[in-house]
Amino acid sequence: MMRIEVLALAVLVGVATWAFRSLPMRFDLSGLRPEGGLSRLLGATGPAAIAALFVASILPLVAGGQGLPFWGGSAAVIALWLWRRSVVLATLGGALAFGLLSLV
């Protein structure tokens, strides 16, 4: 089974992601002034998007009375990130800490 909207979403986002990852190496962006408007907008969009998504993803947890697992899981993510600087390790460790604390 393959829904058309799932396929369309994967292909459209996949093409955009490919373009973001590959094309800046073709077009020399080093000439882009770091203090220029486009540089600032490009530089801010990623962090803004991730911050918005992080907040949106935690609001239901906090509102749903999962405060302890949330704070414990978040602390584990931050501690593991500071320790190893690995996104993968911090994610897995944070999720495991959340899981363990939600059983308490």
Binding site: M1, M2, L7, A8, L9, A10, V11, L12, V13, A16, T17, W18, F20, R21, S22, P24, M25, R26, L29, S30, G37, R40, L41, G43, A44, T45, G46, P47, A48, A49, I50, A51, A52, L53, F54, V55, A56, S57, L59, L61, P69, F70, G73, V77, W81, S86, V87, V88, L89, A90, T91, L92, G94, A95, L96, F98, G99, L100, S102, L103
Partner: protein, 231 residues
């Protein structure tokens, strides 16, 4: 490794730590996708074509929540914008060895972790080559795809015997976002992050989580544009 330092196989070897981390996250993505009503084929299209962990987890939420396709695309594309600096940063670290002939090919595999692993290898004296980058990228992508396939085939009930792991699935996405946020955090981005977070919270609490995400992103990006001086 000093005579043949920069082969495809060398890159594949450097991918092992990334692959070991990717596999369980991809497995849990496969399980979560199945639970949200995705078929194994749909989960695999997400993992192989979209190939962006945070985007995929959010994508299954958006699709199962009935969010309009255009809104989902805008949200996920805005999230993916962070990748634009990865390629040029790796090339800068590669110095005189930098080549881009096959960049459209291996560039697709430049995820957050592959980018981090590439920078780490180059900092430890690894010489850059496009073959090495292809091996590193392919290894991570293959682990992501195979983990997804096994998770999707195992199905939604696969983790019932492991309640802590199953409960942890609910925090996989927030944990991934938080880790990504930490990885790109700089002093210049603090106002951007604060504005995006506050606007998202306000609009979401006022009743619309989808509008909250979009307006939060927009407000944060504009806060970055409005900022004078430092990059």
């Amino acid at each position: 490794m000093t005579d043949q330092p920069s082969t495809f196989w060398g890159g594949l070897g450097a991918a092992v730590p990334v692959a070991l981390g990717y596999f369980p996250i991809a497995f849990s993505f496969g399980v979560a996708a199945t639970r949200a009503g995705f078929s194994p084929a749909e989960a695999m299209v997400f993992s192989t074509v979209m190939y962006s962990g945070a985007g995929q987890f959010l994508g299954i939420t958006l699709v199962s929540g009935g969010v309009p396709l255009l809104v989902s695309v805008i949200t996920l594309v805005a999230m993916a914008l962070r990748h634009v600096i990865y390629g040029p940063t790796v090339l800068k670290a590669a110095g005189a060895d930098a080549r881009t002939r096959f960049a459209p090919f291996w560039g697709f595999w430049l995820t957050d972790e592959v980018f981090g692993a590439a920078l780490g290898e180059l900092a430890r004296g690894q010489r850059f080559s496009e073959r090495f980058m292809a091996g590193l990228g392919f290894g991570a992508w293959a682990a992501w795809g195979s983990g997804t396939l096994l998770g999707a085939l195992a199905g939604g009930g696969a983790l019932a015997a492991y309640p802590a792991v199953e409960a942890g699935l609910g925090f996989m996405l927030p944990a991934l976002f938080l880790a990504l946020l930490l990885s790109i955090l700089s002093r210049a981005q603090v106002p951007v992050i604060a504005v995006a977070g506050l606007v998202t919270t306000g609009v979401t609490l006022a009743g619309s989580p989808t509008a909250g995400i979009l307006l939060g992103m927009l407000a944060g990006a504009l806060a970055g544009l409005a900022r004078k001086g430092a990059a």
